[in-house]
Symmetry: C2
């Protein structure tokens, strides 16, 4: 994750078009992240929720509902639900990854402690479930509770898969659908369902969110080995140092000589990294065209996302979602 | 928590009476704790779920539904939901408390790692929400999602309150309702709601679960300062060593001389404990009658639980619940 920056421009236009509804979402989030009894809760959530996230996921819900002609009010609750699930996930991710920075600020686990991050994350999960019950729509409840399970399953799968050279592109896709795409696709799908869209259009909205999320994550993987620090807020090679088997590496491993495989095994599986290893990793990625191949995948997913939109009614918001699919991959195209 | 042992006898009779339904709950739990993609999930959950917990909470749901004449099938889903929420909470509690043993076995965070416990706990939370959606009953959804939020809020409150001498009995009750009683009362309440019980009877079921949960926790607090290791599986003084402000200490602090207050401040707030401090703590508890006062509270809550049952139809299961309220406090009575 952490690639929100890459969609800033179309997202700004979406923000403008959906401004009044997004204000309502923000007000609902502020209202529900409070706690009468435990002041630690609003402290931690305010730190994260007000840290300037782009609110991409709730925006997707609002956009889908608008395209399908929904007048409200429950897309607001669903959008806030999606953001709460996302925020809870971030709190727990930072504990699991022992992260020290997010969105350019110290993480909650660093400012407070792991305990607070675990328990406040649980509180936000519970709050998200309270919120998703309010529209009294069983289909959106199913979609969102299924998404929450897929996210958690993807995170656990990543624990074991990320440092195992046997992880292939099929497993990678499952992890990415879990950690990123499941919430994107749930966000767009529930926007359609609450608007009463038919099954074909709901499916198109799901497909858009799914493909956009996957393209997002692949671009994130690519930028880690090639992006400049100023644009991404990350350092080149962070994933390598953290021994994460991302798509470019999976492709390079699939094409590795025995000697190269031993290199990946030492650096990723064993975690025995030395000076010069990152440069050698970059050399191997280049030798096997792994970056180009991953880039082609990202472009393909972006095209899939746009093709899904063609199955929806014409709408200015639909065009902005299409531009977003272009924008996501523009930094690696 | 950790006081399930104290209700074994009436619970055994309940188990027998509700055996067929409990088998259905166990089968549903086994089915839903699996994961096609992430083998770490069933490993961790099996370790905990099959470790011989007494399944008290799901039994309360089954008992309430039976008393109110419900024939099924959705009390099974609700009972499994309650157990999943409980199990997810235990996984996260053990991370937060850095526990090494639960139910006489090494904890999941010790056998695997904190990461697995956090993420598998999240998975079980999400699974619990999927399960609670299935009965398609909005009222039970509200009750269970509200309970999940109350639990998380109580846990966060405990983080800051447990080592703060300003914590009074009012705050203590909020923490206990969160960490223990909220799931008890939700368990009995949803059993009544799914059975179509009227508001007065639903309220009686809630009151029983609430009072039983509070009595439970107070007994747990008492046994920590007075119970033998063989009966409780805990060591005398664990709460003191972990600097937890439990009910007997709160009562002793309220009656403390300035000198005594300095002792509690040093040992609980600052955590600077020396040889002989536990003995002195026990002496102060005795001097101010703190154990007796807490015991009287437990007995009062047990009586409240039984009084609530009188508002329900006569039923052999109702009598077993009454015996359980007696049994909970029998070890300190």
């Amino acid at each position: 994750m952490g690639v929100q920056e890459s969609v800033q421009k179309p997202l700004d236009r979406l923000s403008e078009a959906l401004n009044a509804e997004m204000e309502a979402v923000n007000a609902l989030i502020r209202d529900r992240m409070s706690s009468e009894h435990a002041p630690r809760i609003p402290e931690v959530t305010a730190h994260l929720i007000e840290a300037g996230g782009k609110r991409l996921r709730p925006m997707l819900t609002l956009a889908a509902a608008r395209i399908m002609g929904y007048a409200g009010p429950f897309h607001i609750h669903l959008a806030a639900t999606v953001e709460f699930i996302h925020t809870a996930t971030l709190l727990h991710d930072d504990v699991v990854d022992e992260s020290r920075q997010r969105r350019g600020r110290p993480t909650a686990n660093l400012l407070w402690d792991n305990k607070s991050s675990v328990l406040v994350g649980d509180y936000l999960f519970a709050r998200s479930f309270q919120l998703m019950v309010e529209p009294a729509n069983l289909r959106t409840l199913e979609i969102l509770s299924n998404a929450a399970a897929t996210i958690a399953e993807g995170e656990v799968l990543q624990l074991t898969a990320a440092q195992d050279l046997r992880t292939d592109e099929g497993v990678y896709l499952k992890v990415v659908r879990g950690k990123t795409a499941a919430l994107f696709s749930a966000a767009t799908e529930v926007g359609g369902v609450i608007a009463g869209a038919g099954p074909d259009q709901v499916r198109a909205l799901f497909d858009y969110g799914d493909a956009l999320g996957i393209a997002f994550q692949i671009v994130d993987d690519l930028l880690d080995y090639g992006g400049a620090t100023e644009t991404t807020g990350k350092n080149v090679g962070d994933d390598f140092r953290e021994r994460k088997l991302t798509l470019p590496v999976i492709k390079a491993v699939a094409r590795a000589t025995p000697e190269e495989r031993a290199f990946w095994s030492r650096t990723i599986e064993t975690g025995d990294q030395q000076n010069g290893d990152l440069d050698h990793a970059l050399f191997l990625l280049a030798r096997h065209g792994a970056m180009e191949a991953a880039r082609a995948d990202a472009l393909r997913w972006s095209a899939t996302a746009k093709a899904a939109l063609a199955r929806l009614p014409a709408h200015p918001i639909r065009d902005m979602l299409s531009d977003m699919a272009d924008f996501v991959v523009s930094r690696v195209a």
